[in-house]
Amino acid sequence: MEIKALLMGLSDNVVTCITDVKAGEKVAYRKGDEVLCVEAAEDIPYCHKIALTDLAEGADIIKYDESIGRISCPIERGGLVDHTNLFSVPRDYDAEW
């Protein structure tokens, strides 16, 4: 099966598409030695992210095994995750170290 997205970390809840994907298209990606699949719920542009599970509002988006922000609305499996629904969480550096 043609690989259409990349998983950057084993705990990630998004994959990054390496081709333009149409709604309803099956998106194959590798996880270790396995090839898994997620169906696109909407059009996903090249290099954009697609949700691997149903996500509630406020959920962390995990890429590279790290949070890259939280989402401002629920996103279903196969949905587009981009700057319109993902925001950076301000950090309190003084409290962290």
Binding site: E2, M8, C47, I68, H83, R91, Y93, E96
Partner: protein, 386 residues
């Protein structure tokens, strides 16, 4: 894994045996260029600073100049000064001679009575040095002796998911074999510094990483500038990078995942083997300059949009995961990582494959920028010229 290098009396071996024609300041740069062009085996740099500077800028330019001279890829140094610069040629020579036993000579244009007389002396000295350098035989060294710089520039949406993770994998493999790799561009850690800090080998190193980022932000803010404003850029967002966190994580991924054993100031050599980081500008040429001055043997450079840059002292190996860029700029790109973005190979596989590229370059294979004789540098500045 081993490589054929040149033994030095101090520190790591070199993978090149250049005679460096080193100007003390901008005024010596053109004479240096002409001397290098007359002598096969000699390289020059063009220096845009070295005079009319506040102390902090002078300290920086001196670290760069002495660091270039001490870089293990350099066999010997011919210094060309003017005479009235902040640190004249004889003073710079004495500094370098206190740091290394390699051959160093120097001439001043005012002392010699003009450029032609200086160029004649410089050419004679460089000719003698390259003749001696040519007699030095290569020896076999363990890969743990290698010190590799890691850089990115002209990034695009493929960088964070293709070339940077692949180079990160390469870095991990080299570190596991005892080598040293350095990732710099601290301004680009911001947004992901807490993740980078998690890689710290000790709590002190963790705090140093956070502190470096904090100080960088404060430095810019003192001049009324904000490094977070407008990040990620509209172009980044259109390319799929939604937050500064995502952009930074994709960027720092090129440094791999191994524990960070040291945080270096610009142009300072590492004192330990393993993964180290350096506090430099995000300007790729300036960052490479500082890593070369810290003694790295080679630089691996990831790009998305393509770049032609090269350095006179170390080979710069340019890699891209953007297939179109590789095709369009094949004259400048060394390694095609686009199979990652086509889903044909994983970044782990391609990271491992690049060990062979590193081995080849150590053993003398020229990078494209090296074959063209490119010599880009940029010295970081604390504030304006005076």
């Amino acid at each position: 894994m081993q490589f054929w290098g040149y033994r030095r009396n101090e520190g790591r071996p070199g993978i090149r045996n250049h005679v460096l024609i080193l100007p003390t300041c901008a005024c010596g740069s053109e004479s240096s260029r002409i001397i290098a062009s007359q002598v096969k085996g000699a390289v020059n740099i063009v220096f845009n600073t070295g005079c009319s500077d506040v102390q902090a800028n002078t300290d920086m330019s001196q670290k760069i100049l002495t660091g270039f001279a001490c870089n293990p890829n350099v066999y010997g140094v011919v210094i060309i000064g003017l005479g009235c610069e902040t640190v004249p040629h004889d003073k710079l020579r004495e500094k370098i001679q206190a740091m290394t036993t390699k051959p160093v000579v120097s001439f001043g244009i005012q002392d010699e009575g003009g450029t032609l007389k200086t160029i004649e002396k410089g050419v004679r000295a460089a000719r003698e040095m390259v003749a001696q350098a040519g007699m030095q035989q290569k020896e076999l060294f363990d890969i743990s002796e290698l010190y590799l710089g890691i850089e990115c520039g002209g990034s695009d949406a493929t960088s964070g998911i293709g070339s940077n993770p692949a180079v990160g994998e390469l870095s991990d493999l080299l570190v596991d074999m005892g080598a040293t790799t350095v990732m710099s561009e601290s301004i680009e850690w911001i947004g992901g510094e807490h993740v980078l800090a998690k890689r710290a080998a000790t709590p002190e190193i963790h705090n140093q990483i956070i502190e470096v980022c904090k100080k960088y932000e404060e430095h810019l803010s003192a001049a009324g500038q904000d490094c977070r404003a407008g990040q990620p850029t509209p172009g980044n967002k259109a390319g799929g990078l939604s937050t500064l966190d995502e952009k930074s994580l994709g960027c720092i991924r090129k440094g791999g995942t191994r524990p960070i054993v040291e945080v270096l100031e610009q142009a300072v050599p590492p004192s330990r083997h393993g993964a180290v980081v350096m506090d430099t500008a995000g300007y790729d040429i300036s960052s490479v300059t500082s890593m070369v001055a810290s003694g790295c043997n080679a630089v691996i450079f990831t790009t998305g949009r393509g770049t032609c840059t090269g350095n006179a002292i170390v080979p710069v190996l340019k890699v891209t995961a953007n297939g179109r860029t590789y095709q369009r700029m094949e004259d400048n790109m060394d390694v095609d990582l686009s199979p990652i973005i086509r889903g044909e190979k994983t970044y782990q596989e391609m990271g491992k494959e690049m060990l062979k590229d590193i081995e080849d370059i150590c053993n003398g294979k020229l990078t494209k920028a090296e074959a063209y004789g490119f010599s880009d540098i940029a010295v970081d500045h604390v504030c304006r010229f005076v």
